[in-house]
Symmetry: C2
Subunit: 130 residues, 2 copies
């Protein structure tokens, strides 16, 4: 029920959509399923999971440290002290990043090494904006 009256579109070249409503998506064929023009709910959930993992300052620092490390990988013992949080908390955050597909985990002896997944952030951004 989003019916507009005439709205002054700035460019007003051909006056598309000026007369009536701004092409609401109600059963709109151009948008596909008739719901939205952008991502569907399932894809949006998938993209949001990646970004939600990056929505915490601690996880941003963790991933940034791993990506900026000379070897491209760090263990939890390297990460705990810089962020100033307890080891279980860091382990929890790393699990979030791993489940989001942003890092990979490799157990090497007693240490668990994490490595940034290249292209993961870019893929999510491209899925979001095209």
């Amino acid at each position: 029920m989003s019916q507009h009256a005439m709205l002054p579109v700035v460019s007003a070249g051909s006056g598309a959509g000026a007369a009536a409503a701004p092409k609401s998506a109600s059963a709109a064929p151009a948008c596909g399923t008739g719901l939205d023009c952008g991502l569907d709910a399932v894809e949006a959930e998938r993209v949001a999971r990646v970004f939600k993992a990056l929505g915490d300052p601690t996880r941003v620092r963790l991933l940034s440290m791993i990506a900026a490390s000379p070897a491209g990988e760090l263990c939890v013992c390297d990460l705990t002290e810089p962020v100033g949080l307890s080891q279980p908390t860091v382990s929890h955050h790393m699990k979030q990043l791993a489940e989001a597909g942003l890092v990979t985990r490799e157990q090497r002896g007693r240490w668990a090494y994490f490595r940034a997944v290249d292209g993961a952030v870019g893929d999510a951004a491209r899925a979001l904006l095209g």
Copy 2:
């Protein structure tokens, strides 16, 4: 807070043990000083704020719809029905996106038009990974 002073901080990164110790920090001067090699706390907070705004499936769909719309802009009345949420909720989400710098808001008559800020996601991603 931060009462983990009793933690065995025995220079975790430098690898006290010789044999299979993590060899990460040897070539990174700024990494062994007790701080981190990646983003500092302030910058991480700034980056995380952008990604947190994208950490919700509804907001992902909203921004995706706006970016994919023919005119590059949509009003709240266009967004409410596709996402299937109430108008106050959509307005709340749009405020989140605007405060994160991901969309701009322009009041035109009775309608508030939102437009995606180009490069906002890419800038955050670059700040995160270099």
